[in-house]
Symmetry: C2
């Protein structure tokens, strides 16, 4: 029905007769002539109807915005001085000879080029119109290119695309499952997978050697800006490869992706241990675009009398840090107060600070409410350690290490953005040497990744010192976002049992939930490992999108609804009857 896409027409087509299909993007009458901007997936072409072609002119006069039309016409250069350098097709226009109205359109509930004035709910209700916006077209198109490039890379590297079930058993990620009542087995439920983790490990046991899947995953959790009930994972697993091999291959994949789609060379990814990342950035996914760092000053503060500092400095679980921000001395009291409120979100009880006005004037060149609590020599030692300069501000965090890391780590990123300190657009890295466990708050241990992650030590060492045991996990981090996480998995039955022992999982629970995996370990499980990337986040980062809903065609709202289809919705009692369930009435 078309000879060309509208957006593909160029000066090289001048003189050709073309047939176009698309939507009326804009219609103007000017000097007795009708101009239609006709839009399709590839862009917009200007089509001109003059009264010489009487029938076409009359029809063109009837069309309105968003009508679907088909036109036949001849490409010509735009008249001298009227070409539009902002449009890819701006050098040419089409002199329309015929026009057919393929479908009419009512006035849209919101103008496509003024969408931002309407609420997101209206746009989601009319998602089919919202998706006509070039921005949304570009984002979903970009997403399609991302998956295509990744698939080709993995295909070329011998990975097999194998589908795993959506109707399955509860998986070990630990978030809340979506359940599906079984009609055939009354009282039983399928769970939607939180990831294909166990299945991909079984595929390794089966000898498929290299597996991948771009897989839908599900978590019934309360939603934040970057969360959706269903999300998509680039899921990878290999046998007989160590962490070095896996990191190198997937790093190559991501570098190729950025190079092909954004013409950006990410360079080699630096590696950083979890311990170093926490020490220097207070985060296991540090944003290395920002040159600020946390400096530990526990040693300096252990003997000061200022309790806010000396308490945490002397607490084995406490931490005292300084964060120096160049240029921050010009921050107003109000701005500093706002940062105080910001860190309180992360549990910080206050935010001490020192402004460096004139470093050479010693203590007199500094400005701070806390100077009087700290001996001058300590201040001097601090300034020296931080290499403080005129115009700096120094913030302090002193609390349990967890609170300090989270609050000052977040402050670091916020300051970096607010003070325009971001040094480069992309900063990838690998974080490695994660702890195997973290305290579960009930005197026991919980797995930092998942219980199938291989420890980097022997089973005996693991059981003896669960607090210091490291795992063979690795996360790929980009600009402060975790792009993907993975690990070498446990292939040894004894090791797996040791991990379960530390986690305090009962034999009954184990057998019930993971019996088949434990079985599989008995029958010749190869060494294996893998990685999973969050596709939605990857596309968000690459397209500089802040809301996950902008990179998904039909997303859910923050209450997990689709306002367009009205899902979820009520269903017939008969359906519930067949499924052997009933709705619980609230009393």
């Amino acid at each position: 029905m078309r000879s060309h896409y509208c957006g593909d027409l160029r000066a090289s087509h001048i003189g050709e007769e073309v047939k176009l299909c698309g939507w009326v993007h804009r219609r103007r009458d000017h000097g007795g002539v009708i101009f239609l901007d006709v839009r399709d997936r590839e862009g917009i072409a200007q089509v001109v109807f003059d009264p010489d072609e009487q029938a076409a002119f009359k029809l063109a006069d009837k069309v309105r915005s968003e009508y679907v039309i088909s036109i036949v016409g001849k490409v010509r250069a735009r008249p001298e001085g009227s070409s539009n350098p902002d449009m890819a097709t701006g050098e040419i226009e089409v002199l329309g000879k015929q026009i057919e109205i393929l479908n009419q359109a009512e006035t849209p509930p919101f103008p496509l080029d003024e969408y931002s004035a309407v609420g997101e709910d209206v746009r989601l209700k009319y998602r089919f119109l919202d998706l006509r916006r070039p921005e949304m077209q570009n984002k979903l198109r970009f997403r399609s290119k991302v998956t295509s490039i990744i698939r080709n890379f993995l295909d070329e590297n011998g990975f097999l695309d194998i589908e795993t079930p959506i109707l399955t058993r509860a998986t070990p990620e630990g978030a809340r499952d979506y359940l599906v009542p079984s009609r055939v087995h009354p009282g039983s439920f399928y769970a939607l997978p939180q990831s294909p983790q166990l299945f991909k490990q079984l595929l390794m046991v089966s000898g498929f050697d290299r597996y991948y899947q771009i897989a839908k995953c599900f978590r019934d959790e309360d939603l934040r800006a970057d969360r959706q009930p269903e999300f998509t994972q680039i899921d990878i697993e290999t046998s007989f490869m160590n962490e070095e091999d896996i990191m190198s291959m997937t790093e190559k994949m991501v570098r190729q992706l950025f190079s092909n789609l954004l013409d950006i060379d990410l360079g080699e990814f630096p590696r950083m241990t979890y311990a170093e990342a926490m020490e220097r950035f207070g985060s296991d996914r540090p944003d290395l675009r920002i040159p600020l760092e946390l400096t530990s000053i526990d040693d300096l503060m252990q003997s000061v009398e200022f309790k806010v500092f000396n308490g945490p400095a002397n607490d084995p679980k406490g931490r005292v840090v300084a964060l120096k921000a160049p240029g921050g001395a010009s921050l107003s009291r109000k701005q500093i107060d706002d940062y105080g409120k910001y860190v309180s979100i992360y549990g910080a009880k206050g935010l001490a600070w020192i402004k460096v006005n004139a470093i050479n004037d010693g203590i007199n060149g500094l400005q701070s409410p806390i100077l009087k609590f700290i001996p001058e020599e300590t201040i001097q030692a601090l300034m020296k350690r931080l290499d403080a300069k005129d115009g700096d501000i120094i913030f302090f965090g002193a609390d349990k290490a967890k609170v300090v890391n989270e609050s000052i780590g977040a402050l670091r990123v916020k300051l970096g953005e607010d003070l325009n300190l971001i040094e480069r657009p992309w900063a990838p890295l690998w974080v490695i040497d994660f702890p195997m466990f973290e305290e579960n708050g009930k005197g026991g241990w919980t797995a930092l990744h998942h219980p199938f992650t291989s420890p980097a030590c022997s089973p005996e060492a693991l059981k003896a010192n669960p607090d210091t045991a490291l795992s063979r996990a690795y996360d790929m981090v980009l600009n402060g976002t975790e792009l993907g996480g993975g690990s070498i998995r446990i292939h040894d039955q004894q090791m797996q049992e040791s991990v379960f022992e530390v986690l305090g999982l009962g034999e009954e629970e184990l057998k019930d939930k993971f019996g088949f995996l434990l079985d599989a370990l008995k029958y010749g499980c190869p060494p294996h490992g893998g990685l999973a990337f969050g596709l939605d986040r990857l596309v968000m980062l690459m397209t500089e999108t802040s809301s996950i809903r902008e990179v998904i065609a039909f997303p859910k709202t923050q209450t997990a609804s689709c306002v367009m289809t009205q899902a979820p919705s009520e269903v017939d009692t008969q359906q519930l009857h067949e499924l052997n369930i009933r709705i619980r009435k609230h009393i």
Copy 2:
């Protein structure tokens, strides 16, 4: 951890030192030497350990079947006369120098090369072992290649891979939905999609122009050999293309697939109307590999006194057909009786037959229990119409047309197989010109495809004659299996309303279920159409597999269970509580 895959070693590697990883497929001691067949994804290599390498020899002596090992050794030619032409690696062997046991293995619950002796349930319980069989490896690998080729074809043709939701609203296919209770919206449920039909139409309204997705679909129906609760669809939709364009593009895709993977040229697909397919083959997915055809003989039988024939021959909804099978005159009475039982599955009340022993002997050359009921001249006319020859058997169907078509259509296929009449391995075709509606048994109409299929006539003609209205649907059929089905969809609001009117759908129901689609039609919906292929069936056909469970990594049994993970399973009361449902107790 490896230098080569086991199965990739060839004579060209002789002299090279290699490192292999894999499973011990077989272990033999012979002449003081240990032979290990080491298996990986690519195949098997023979590794020899002799006592000269003492340490390795001792370790090699310890390994058992399905142990996971890593070996280092040197490739050499097998000794004169001991090469194995049945093995890809049969010209060489590896002289082992080092061996490492990466994991041990208990004796598998069934020997991999004698799997057929154990029940399918055992194989499914230990699916991770069952999948080690080369046959299963090859099938899933083949499936991965199929999707890769299809994706590349569609990518090259400008199709965008766009994901549609899994947690959604009930879709219009009409089978039973799987439901997912919502925690956030008590008493409401998501449905898992039976297809992405409505979403892909909305993507056309949005102007994406060409969409595809390899999409999981769900139907909670009772399972047959070729059904699964979740199945995979190659889902395609385009705008501004007519049926000719869509059929030609997707035919090209399937031909390319067969050519690339099986080196088979399917040739151009013939087209056949639904009416012709039913007339000649009693089926809208005729298996054209089989040269048998149904011949209508209503006219001949209208005036015979034999009620079994004259009743249906005079009934406007009846049909009388003959099916001639060359060579069938040698069938035994027992065999004919069995065919009688076979057609009874499809509702036939009997199976009349005539054997042609000597056509030139007239009525005396025939053998049949029904000869006495039918005048000789009718028999003669019948023999002439059928061009009967010595050795033929002629079967008859006489009943409601539906019963005749289904029973004799099925008999045709069975006879074709039993009598070895299959003429060629592959017989594709397009079936077109489907009826728009079929009777719903309650005096009304139901859509033969789905209610969004475009009729081939005007809204007025549709409402005036729903019984004869044709649709713009098309099915791709291969060897008697529907590979894919599609249609041009309705893009005109008035047409859509007319279809709903014929179907007798109430306004309330419409608005509730499809309100968003009807809305979308108002705002500039382009002409569009598409097609969906069943990936599982496609792979089954291409790999000559009779059970759908053999082309899916982790399938469900016929009671929709996974015997490996024990899904579906019982869940905590607390979980149900959060979901606001309870299990209905049977009284």
